[in-house]
Symmetry: C2
Subunit: 291 residues, 2 copies
């Protein structure tokens, strides 16, 4: 049942798993053409999912959490390498009642259950602040590469949802995706260093694709910047290559981020020779299917 | 005749000089509405100025110079802080016959003479490679701030032209401009440190506007990303606030960059208490009006 892909040389391996697991004939909770786009491109953008008042409540909760980071467990708050500004807060689906409810919201969870054709749980959650002026880039990566190698996630049966809390302009470091990149697994060079997760949350250096792999993927599929208003949802497959440029504009790019994993796909022991990453980065002990 | 603006506190000062100096009734070398746009916004984008074959010749010259940087005078080549990749080569209007001819090309020089209403010379020139994957951001700045304080440029009677050699996409760190920002001078905090130019060519830290100044300018004018095909020309006033995000995409963003200054506006002694910057950054001894 495991794919067993480890690091050691940059190469492409054809995807073995479906992208959309939904059984034939089952009615999708969103228009079928969006599901088809997702299956072909590896992502979709749903605009206007949440109302202005809902977004306002999420923003207020974000500000509340930012102001109370001292009370969050150590390590769960990630700061910018240079400025020390808060970049991300993890495990918000457990620490915040509002975001716990959002993770289980039918508009999100029903779609995750449809695509993955299983009960789902939150593998990882976080708030990303992406502050203005000094927001740093996040280099290209496929999440599955890390989740497989470092967390022991068996198969490509997980997806991410990013709920936008501010407008994503072309100039404030929007999420960039490479269409079609999810159909190949880009195995990465190198061993996994000790405590890789600590450094990688600030800056990716290992477990990233080679220049040649990226050129190949972009030549085939191009790059799409997910520009959208607050209250939109960007959904992408666990193997879709994505990243974001830095942000020197004054406009922050905040979002709430949930990873939905199929209950049948819960993590095993890591495939690299390292201890498991902490629970706040990868749910392992506390796996609860969403209601 | 000098403005005498020094650093020491973030504040706005109303512009005292015209943006377009052309005398009334003089016929513009481009449509009048573009000149009006330039006067109001502080920049303009002219697409398709150079043909594909011309751009190809510029690109070949760029590759030749990149391969022969050992022969360029020390200091004239700037590398990326981390990767060591070539970022810029200065003084190309003297070291390269092709770019010397380009600086004097009537399509560029006539427009500079029209806007500045004077004979013009090249205050500074450079090739920017902006390589893919690891291209770093260039923080917001008004060129005039530096040229005035560090080079002793008396008045706002200079402009920049960036000739694009690759496509400027929304995602490969295109030039970003703040419309209308040229109408105020954003005086910057702080003293000018010793040998500031050496560090500032890699990364701007001094002589940059405050967060509050930037928010104010963006609230008024927004941000425009200069997306365009190769062979376009982006022209902007010496006091227009601009910058660019980093570039993790595989697509480099190369351009040729000329600063045209009015002969009547040639530099005096620097207004900060520092020796003049080197000749390859600021023409001081070798001032030749373009033919």
């Amino acid at each position: 049942m495991f794919i067993l892909l480890v690091r050691g040389g940059a190469q492409f391996i054809e995807r073995q798993d479906p992208t959309v697991y939904a059984s034939q004939g089952k009615e999708a909770p969103i228009p079928e053409q969006q599901i088809t786009h997702y299956a072909e491109k590896g992502f979709m953008l749903l605009e206007g999912v949440f109302s202005e008042s809902e977004v306002l409540a999420f923003q207020q909760e974000l500000e509340r959490l930012r102001g109370s980071t001292a009370t969050v467990a150590p390590g769960e708050t990630i700061t910018e390498p240079e400025s020390g500004d808060v970049r991300s807060i993890f495990r918000i689906h457990e620490s915040s009642p509002i975001f716990k409810a959002l993770a289980a919201d039918k508009r999100l969870a029903d779609l995750a259950r449809y695509i993955l054709n299983d009960e789902v749980y939150i593998h990882q959650s976080r708030l990303n602040y992406k502050p203005g002026f000094r927001g740093k880039e996040f280099y290209w990566h496929s999440d599955f590469e890390t989740w497989h190698v470092e967390d022991g996630m068996p198969r490509m049966r997980a997806l991410s949802m990013s709920i936008t809390l501010t407008e994503n302009f072309e100039y404030n470091g929007p999420l960039m995706l490479i269409p079609g990149s999810h159909l190949q697994y880009a195995a990465c060079e190198g061993e996994t260093p000790d405590n890789h997760y600590e450094a990688s949350l600030k800056k990716q250096e290992y477990g990233v694709p080679s220049d040649t792999q990226l050129e190949d993927m972009v030549n085939k599929g191009g790059i799409v910047s997910a520009k959208c208003k607050p209250g939109s949802v960007i959904i992408f497959d666990c193997n879709t290559m994505h990243g974001s440029n830095g942000n020197i504009s004054p406009e922050p790019r905040s979002n709430v981020f949930f990873v939905y994993n199929a209950v049948s796909n819960q993590v095993a022991s890591p495939f690299c020779e390292q201890p498991p990453r902490p629970e706040y980065i990868c749910s392992r002990e506390h796996i609860k299917p969403l209601p």
